[in-house]
């Protein structure tokens, strides 16, 4: 089949971009979205022109590197499928297909269809480590995990970090991504130690670069891992627990209510030296 491609061309982050129109002929139905670009690029190179830059790696839906807006839909017309696994069979002969980079304040365009998604890595990094025994492999079954929770954790861990959720969101929000990351650790015993510190820190990083969730739900069909909106409710709940319960002392670290403790005259028995404002009774 013959397709007309409207492709976003932009030399680098500082140069304004524009759409360019190309004709591609002899495309067969099983060609993937990325192979369509390969065909176009072969054509462009043969003509001595600059090929279109786009991100890709595994081409089998596991790495999360690919990502383009196809006719106004993240990754393409099929739900829950990364661009590398989408076939052009959704189009018919003579169609115009528009390819655009993902747009979000946190995803600056680097070149053509390539955007910088390291803002997602910064969310992950701010989540920090989990405290767990390393060294020797632990005794099997030494840490029982509820079946439903392990399934849920696995489902949430399926996120490949492609950023389609951000690209889909009219607010440029990363709640689905951050929610998946927070939820998958929060479901597991290993994730409990830093659970509330982690959600706080990840939310702070997320909000410094991304937008806020209005519950459009547009991210869900775009997500190759079929992460659901429940992770966003989970994120909200854990964040609230972190901020509110900490005040009640239900979560280990808390120093903000020292004045309250002092009013009650109870701080001297706290084991954390930070919580003893110098009114510890002295032996005489």
């Amino acid at each position: 089949m013959r397709l007309t491609l409207e492709v976003w061309r932009q030399a680098d982050a500082a140069t304004p971009g524009r759409f360019e129109r190309y004709e591609v002929d002899g495309v067969t139905a099983e060609v993937s979205m990325l192979e369509l670009l390969d065909i176009l690029n072969a054509q462009l190179v043969a003509e001595g022109r600059e090929p279109v830059a786009f991100d890709h790696d595994c081409r089998e839906g596991i790495c999360g590197t690919c990502g383009i807006m196809v006719n106004g839909q993240p990754h393409g017309p099929e739900d829950h499928t990364p661009a590398c696994l989408q076939r052009v069979r959704a189009f018919s002969d003579g169609d115009v297909v528009t390819l655009e980079p993902w747009r979000a304040g946190a995803f600056p365009v680097l070149r053509d269809l390539v955007v910088d998604r390291s803002a997602l890595d910064r969310i992950i990094a701010s989540g920090g480590y989990i405290s767990t025994a390393t060294n020797a492999a632990p005794e099997a079954l030494s840490l029982p995990v509820n079946k439903h929770q392990s399934e849920a954790a696995m489902d949430h861990a399926a996120c490949i970090g492609c950023g389609a959720c951000v690209a889909a969101c009219p607010n440029g929000a990363a709640q689905l991504f951050a929610g998946a990351k927070v939820a998958h650790l929060a479901e597991l015993p290993q994730g409990q130690v830093e659970r509330y510190e982690r959600v706080r820190s990840m939310v702070a990083t997320m909000e410094s670069e991304f937008g806020s969730c209005t519950n459009y739900g547009e991210c869900v069909p775009a997500c190759p891992a079929a992460i659901g909106l429940d992770v966003i409710a989970h994120l909200n709940r854990d964040f609230r627990t972190a901020v509110v319960s900490e005040r009640r002392g239900e979560v280990p670290e808390r120093t903000d209510v020292r004045w309250l403790a002092r009013l009650r005259g109870e701080a001297w028995w706290q084991s954390d030296p930070d919580d003893r404002p110098g009114d510890t009774p002295k032996r005489s």
Partner: protein, 237 residues
């Protein structure tokens, strides 16, 4: 990037810390939204007295003023309720404005090609506009029926008379209809959305959220619109 210990942020009082975050602002939107939902439902039910008689309706309006009187001074309870509603409205609108500004910053450049939305419905995408219409309408509604400062009314009109004056005027009735449709869209998304914002997620009731949103919207907006239509068609006169 190496994984490090999560930063210990400086601690402020929890309300401040919660509000500083966008997630916290969404809690404010949702909680003040729930206050608003309670209000619009009670307001619609109270106004059903329009169908009983002018006397009943006027008596209802008067009774609101005397709620819990003589236990509390006349007007106190009504004014306390008004205070709560005003606070909720201010909180709702301020948080909405801040979140909207944040979201504009997060998506400075829009897509050049036409977006093909799959899940984000009309109601969700127009929350800001339906909200603004409802806000403007609220001022008109108060000026019209509470303060009676619009030219439609004459001195000595009862509350019932004012409702008739207002709904018999095509422009005024039109605004009431438009504002209720806007509120309808706002509620259709809002009632569903607040569960997410509040972190209420449970397999047992998740699939009821949409039903609840539709039912709530139909009851409140259906009731409100019926008053306007009843006056326009002479059922209430």
């Amino acid at each position: 990037m190496a994984a490090t210990a999560p930063e210990r942020s400086k601690r402020s009082p929890f309300i401040v810390e919660l509000y500083r975050s966008a997630l916290g602002k969404k809690y404010v939107m949702a909680i003040t939204g729930i206050v608003g939902l309670g209000y619009v439902l009670a307001h619609m039910i109270g106004n059903l007295k329009l169908y009983q008689s002018a006397e009943d309706f006027n008596l209802y309006a008067e009774t609101l003023r005397e709620l819990l009187y003589p236990i509390a001074p006349e007007g106190l309870v009504l004014n306390l309720l008004r205070g709560v509603l005003i606070l909720a409205l201010v909180g709702h609108v301020v948080a909405a404005a801040q979140l909207t500004a944040m979201n504009r910053r997060a998506r400075p450049e829009s897509y050049r090609s036409k977006r093909d939305y799959v899940a984000a419905d009309f109601a969700a995408r127009t929350m800001r506009w339906t909200g603004v219409i409802v806000l403007l309408f609220l001022f008109y509604h108060l000026a019209d029926l509470t303060w009676a400062v619009t030219p439609l009314h004459e001195a000595g009109d009862t509350v019932y008379d004012r409702v008739l004056n207002s709904f018999n005027n095509p422009a005024s009735a039109g605004f009431y209809i438009l504002a209720n449709l806007a509120l309808g869209f706002h509620l259709y998304h809002g009632v569903w959305s607040l569960f997410q914002s509040m972190g209420w997620n449970n397999r047992r009731f998740n699939h009821w959220r949409r039903t609840l949103a539709v039912a709530f919207t139909v009851v409140v907006i259906g009731g409100n619109l019926s008053f306007v239509i009843a006056v326009l068609t002479g059922v209430i006169s």
